[in-house]
Every structure is written in C-alpha cells, then in structure tokens.
Symmetry: C2
Subunit: 147 residues, 2 copies
DNA sequence: TTGCATCCGGTACCTAGGTACAGGCTTACC
DNA sequence: GGTAAGCCTGTACCTAGGTACCGGATGCAA
C-alpha cells in the first residue's frame, strides 16, 4: 500500500506541511490512510483538491465556504437551496463588484488628494480650503473585506 | 479645568471606549490631561483627530501608516523623503489600482463560472469540459490585501 | 453620605489563516 | 544495525484591529 507522503504533497502544491494538517483539522481534506507507523499517505487526488482549495481562496471564498462547497459537491441531493457553487458564485460576484465600486471611490479620493497637493491630514481637515473632506470621506466604503 | 470625558468622545465619534485607549497606546492619540482622580479629559480637537483617523483607515491606510502621517504633519522639517501625505497617497493609489485590477480578473472568472453553469468544484477541475480552469485560476491575484 | 454610573489599568480574548517549536517516533538508506 | 532525515501530536504564537472582563477607584447628584 502506497501513496504520497506529506512532504511530497506540500512540495507539489506549494502548501506548507503544517497547513496540510490544518486543512485536515478544518475538514477541508479527508483524513488520509496511514502507514503502519502512523505516517500519512495521501491519495493522488489530494493534490487536485488542494489546487481547487487554493483557487477558491483566490476567488475570495473563506475556508469555511470552501469546505461547504466541497461538501455540497459530494452529496448533491438533500442540500440547502443556496449551498451550490452556482448560488455562491453569484453572491460572491456581487460582493466583488461592490468592493470594486468602493475601491474606485477610494481611488478617486486619493487622486483628488494628490492633485490638490495636500500634505497634512489635520490641517486639511480643519481648513475648508482643502477640497478633500477627510472628516466625512467615503463613509461605509471601507477597504477591508466587509463580509 | 474641563474637557470631554472618554464616553463623550466615544459617543461623538462612534468609536469604542476601549478603542480610544488602544489608539492612545498605539500613539495615534496624544495622552490627554487627567482629572485629579485620574480620569481622562479630552480636548475638543480629539474628535476631529478621530474622524481623520477613521477617514484615513477607510482609504486603506493601516494604523501604523496613519500614526506616521499624523507624526509627519506635526514636524514637517527633518522628515523622511517619502513620509509625506503626498507620497503616501500616491503609493496607496497605485496599490488600490492594482487591487481593482485583481478584483476585475476575479469577477470575470466568477461570471464565467456562473455562465457556464458549473456546480461542482472538483468535478469541474477534473473534467476538461468545464471552461473554468479552477486549478490554475488567477494565480497571484489574491483577494487578500497584498501589502 | 450614600448610591450608582462611569472610568481606571491590566490582562485576556476574538477573527482568519496559517506558522513554529518541542520532544519523540518512523522510515530509508548504507 | 546505525544514523540522518522525515514525520508525529500537541501546543503556542503570529498579524491587525480591536473588544471584553475584572476588581477597584472616581465623579456626581440627591
């Protein structure tokens, strides 16, 4: 009985060895078979699974969401209405679009600050000669992920 | 001798009371005067300062950067070449633009996934009939803030 | 002066996604 | 069989930006 050793999987995917175990704890990776001595022996498709996980992360899904999506893919029947990749992708898409819109507002403000030549946050805020309303700017348009 | 009590400042700015002390520890707020019993008495302009801090945060600056910017605004001479608001705003602007570009790639991919009707991450990855290359998608275009 | 709301400092905890370390066992190769 | 590399579990730590809790002190009004 054979399989990939954890360092091989790590090397093949660029994922840290500790992270592999972390994903296992989080339920993203199935528990692999073990050697007689207790060492993990991964099946080949684990490499694919990790690539999928990383791709989904790059699309902005959290690890919890990725776990749900993988789960939903397994037993397709008896799953919640909005658990499918379709619905999640649509929801995620509108989040990403909202984020883009926020960032465009922010970019516009930064450009204005540069163009106006402001060089002191507090002075600009106190005096109305500065065109940038620092005290009230872009409320609710946080750069941070709002999820 | 008077001034605003911490709860008044908190209420006026929507900032948590603990956060006020946190900002003081981080050097974002000057240490205020105290009552005889040791209670903080804030000057009026602290409210403005907090609004500025929150605005700068919304523009995507970290608290460390905000502290630097406030510092730089105080003693304008003898400061580093790139410490000014101008330079920082320019740098931040290009970061924001890069982030927008990344998100646009991600949005495009999500749209493709929705249009193609994929509903199973792993199946889509294994079979080449799916137009979405989950295993190789948008490498380096993480949604996470790359700073 | 009593009573209650507020504030104090210090410390611990939270999210998200990992990463590192310690001490001991296993595997592989010569 | 020896030995070095690799792997095991468990636990602690990291970033960033806060938030919560505790026991005790203070402020203020009646």
């Amino acid at each position: 009985m054979s399989g990939l050793r954890s360092s091989q999987v790590a090397a093949a995917t660029g994922v840290n060895l500790q992270t592999l175990r972390y994903y296992e704890r989080r339920g993203l990776l199935a528990e692999p078979d073990r050697s007689l001595g207790g060492h993990r022996l991964y099946p080949e498709h684990t490499v694919t699974a990790l690539k999928v996980i990383k791709a989904a992360q790059r699309l902005g899904f959290t690890l919890d969401e990725v776990a749900d999506l993988l789960e939903a893919g397994q037993h397709r029947h008896a799953r919640r209405q909005d658990a499918g990749l379709q619905a999640r992708a649509r929801a995620r898409l509108s989040e990403v679009q909202a984020k883009i819109a926020n960032l465009q507002v922010i970019a516009g403000t930064l450009r204005a600050a540069v163009d106006a030549g402001c060089d002191d946050l507090v002075a600009c805020t106190d005096q109305p000669c500065c065109p940038i309303p620092f005290a009230t700017i872009a409320v609710g348009a946080s750069d941070a992920d709002p999820r």
